[in-house]
């Protein structure tokens, strides 16, 4: 800084020139506005998501009673250790895993296929989009009850249709048998969930550069090769995103099981969350239920991180 500059600095008035304060205020407003807008959502997130998660972990280390004032002794890892020695949880864990393995790939495949079919050239594209997405916006409770009626023994639509094709009255007690009960849970979940993957993939496919696809086509690449080498690599982030969220969602399967089969017959279609619910609200083992839910949260988090890393590694390689 030369002497001229320092003179200028010295000559700068002590009080900010008119307008500087309002500029500062507007800058402050600009910075603060997004935070202020986020505040209600952040507050709700903190109260209804963050706090319950921490509270759940907290409860899992105590022999917790619901009644205020009753002593809740600290039991350390006892509830977690019980999970590994509880034979009843095995069926619930197996059913959850089976649900995940069956519904996630099918939802992704059907969603992608539907997105590929509903192209710009398809007449009534908007209508198709709305129809496929419609189940997503319906209530889980309503849909589960509807499917319970469809697959009901008395006057169920499924048995009526099968009876027409069979030529005689068919009475399958879908919800009272293990495999048919599980199948109904998978069907309702896939039917309701496929629209979400569809809309995600539809947006991703719209983002695939058309010139790339066209140039591949001009170079003589077949459709499967175009999909394999052009489309899929371009929508890989969406595939990762969809698969991670579907895995998280599948691990949290509850409503459709609770309403359609209630976990029956004899607990054979129960999943981890219905088991945790039963422990909490039927047996009043709140701490044990909290331990199951906490362990699930950790496993799902780990699974999601693993998925993202694997996808990233594949992408890089």
């Amino acid at each position: 800084m030369d002497s001229k500059d320092s003179t200028l600095l010295k000559q700068r008035p002590a009080v900010s020139p008119p307008g500087a304060a309002s500029r500062r205020r507007s800058r402050l407003t600009r910075i603060a506005t997004p935070y202020l807008l986020l505040l209600p959502a952040a507050f709700l997130y903190a109260v209804f998501i963050v706090y319950p998660i921490f509270r759940q972990f907290d409860i899992s280390f105590f022999n917790w009673h619901i009644f205020p004032g009753v002593s809740n002794p600290f039991v350390g890892w006892t509830n977690y250790s019980r999970i590994f020695h509880d034979p009843a949880i095995r069926t619930a864990a197996e059913n959850t895993l089976l649900f995940l393995v069956i519904t996630v790939p099918i939802q992704m495949a059907l969603g992608l296929a539907a997105a590929a079919l509903v192209t710009d050239r398809l007449p009534g594209r908007g209508l198709w989009r709305a129809l496929i997405f419609l189940p997503v916006v319906t209530s889980w409770v309503v849909v589960s009850y509807v499917f319970a009626y469809i697959f009901g023994l008395q006057g169920g639509l499924a048995n009526a249709i099968i009876s027409i094709f069979a030529g005689h009255t068919v009475r399958i007690d879908w919800l009272a048998q293990t495999w048919t009960g599980n199948a109904v849970i998978w069907i309702v979940s896939i039917w309701k969930g496929v629209g979400w993957s569809f809309i995600m993939f539809l947006a991703a496919l719209d983002g695939v550069p058309r010139d790339l696809v066209e140039s591949a086509r001009v170079d003589g690449a077949s459709e499967p090769r175009i999909w394999r080498h052009v489309v899929i690599p371009n929508i890989r982030p969406t595939i990762t995103f969809v698969s991670v969220l579907l895995v998280i969602g599948a691990s949290q399967v509850f409503t459709q099981v609770f309403i359609t089969t209630g976990g029956g017959p004899f607990g054979s279609t129960g999943v981890l969350l219905t088991y945790a619910y039963q422990q909490a609200f039927s047996f009043f083992n709140f701490s044990y239920a909290a331990a199951i839910a906490s362990l699930m949260a950790v496993i799902v988090l780990g699974l999601s991180i693993l998925q993202i890393r694997l996808m990233r590694r594949n992408h890089n390689s």
Partner: protein, 435 residues
């Protein structure tokens, strides 16, 4: 300055007057309120309103008897205590009681299924009534079985209310058609009769078993010498997986496979309960409680049936103690009034009035009068002498679910009896340890 002083002076005077006036008005109001309160307190005794929750049946006279006979009599005898009765469906009551307890606003008194008492005591949400005046007065007259259902780890958490047990209902017409003259007295005979009474062409099963839970299966298991837990309800090992229990389960499994036991055993949407199927001729025999008498009396035509004690096996003739107890919410505002009301429900007046509606008495003094008024209770009263209570443990629900689920798998052929009972024992131990 002078003006200011004058203003200040005037202001001060006004202010002083205002304060004096306010004090008079406010003080007077306070005095008036206090006086009115004192006057009303002197003229009217303070009324306590008890909230009483139950699952009384509104379809018959059970609910109306409590509302129109018992509560008015109690209120007349206890001026100053009002009872507000609220009836919930059975499936809702327990969770509503838990939720309101957690919120610090439970009902004062609840008529609880005997199977819930230990669970509620384990959660610390019901009063230990052992030291209360009303409980002490009724305790000595209680029948041993019902009294045991109120005791958890040596402390009393409920007042016995009504009791019941199951006995064998047999269809006289079906027996006559099969050439059988009397109901079976042994389990061996019962199964032989079940085979004779099974007529597939008529869709008639010899025996109906209403489910795989302990309430329905215990009479068979106990009477064949099996058991579920030790006497202190701390372990199932050596009891639930004992050879006698295995024999009992295998015997029922064999009868089911042979087609002598109906659809209700395994459940499902097509299953017909014993109470629905028996009068229609679907089951020639099944076990049920005394309430079925009123149900069948209301039918037209009234089915021709008899009631006999549960047949004996290697372990004797044992049925399951059922019924309800009265519990008082912990830390309630009206414990003394609640104690009075719970004890009144156990009084001969209330017990005999409810006995006429199908709720058998839990008290020795009233037993004879009850059987005299309703002779068909005699077989149940006799059966109660050897009936057993289910595990009185906070882990009972979990244990019952474990047993029921494993039984379902065994009956469906998914697992052998021995392996299934080993799993059930492990799960039951986990439930008992968790409680």
């Amino acid at each position: 300055m002078r003006i200011n002083r004058a203003i200040r002076g005037r202001t001060g005077t006004v202010a002083r007057l205002f304060v004096a006036f306010s004090a008079l008005v406010f003080g007077g109001t306070l005095f008036g309120i206090a006086n009115t309160g004192a006057a009303s307190a002197a003229s009217k005794p303070k009324t306590v309103t008890l909230q009483y929750w139950s699952t009384y049946n509104t379809a018959d006279k059970e609910a109306s008897t409590i509302a129109n006979v018992i509560i008015p009599k109690f209120e007349k005898e206890n001026p100053g205590i009002k009872v507000k009765s609220v009836i919930y469906p059975y499936s809702d009551l327990l969770n509503k009681f838990i939720a309101t307890s957690a919120a610090g606003n439970p009902p004062d008194v609840m008529r609880s299924d005997i199977a819930w008492v230990a669970q509620l005591a384990g959660q610390g949400i019901i009063q230990n009534v052992g030291g209360l005046k009303g409980f002490s007065a009724i305790k000595k007259d209680a029948l041993p079985g019902p009294l045991l259902t109120t005791e958890v780890k040596g402390k009393f958490y409920a007042y016995p209310d009504d009791t019941n047990t199951q006995a064998l209902y047999w269809n006289k017409a079906d027996f006559a058609a099969a050439g059988i003259t009397s109901p079976p007295t042994t389990i061996t005979q019962m199964l032989a009769d079940a085979a004779t009474l099974t007529v597939p062409a008529k869709q008639q099963y010899g025996l109906g078993v209403d489910g795989t839970d302990i309430w329905n299966m215990a009479p068979y298991v106990w009477s064949m010498g099996g058991s579920f837990t030790n006497a202190k309800y701390t372990t199932a090992s050596g009891f639930m997986d004992s050879s006698a229990t295995q024999t009992a389960v295998s015997t029922l499994l064999t009868a089911l496979k042979a087609g002598y036991i109906g659809s209700d055993f395994q459940g499902g949407a097509s299953a017909v309960s014993g109470e629905a199927g028996f009068p229609k001729g679907e089951y020639a025999m099944y076990i049920d409680g005394p309430w079925a008498i009123n149900t069948y009396a209301a039918l037209s035509p009234v089915p021709s049936y008899g009631i006999a004690p549960f047949p004996s096996g290697a372990g004797g003739s044992h049925s399951t103690v059922g019924g309800e107890d009265t519990v008082v919410a912990k830390n309630g505002k009206h414990i003394a009034a609640a104690d009075k009301f719970a004890a009144f429900l156990a009084s001969p007046f209330a017990q005999l009035a409810m006995a006429k509606q199908g709720d058998m008495t839990s008290f020795k003094t009233d037993s004879a009068a009850e059987v005299k008024a309703t002779p068909s209770y005699k077989v149940f009263a006799t059966q109660l002498l050897t009936s057993k209570i289910r595990a009185n443990s906070a882990g009972y629900s979990a244990l019952d679910t474990a047993w029921s689920n494993v039984m379902g798998q065994i009956l469906a052929g998914g697992v052998t009896v021995a392996a299934g009972l080993a799993t059930a024992t492990q799960e039951a131990n986990s439930a008992l340890a968790g409680s």
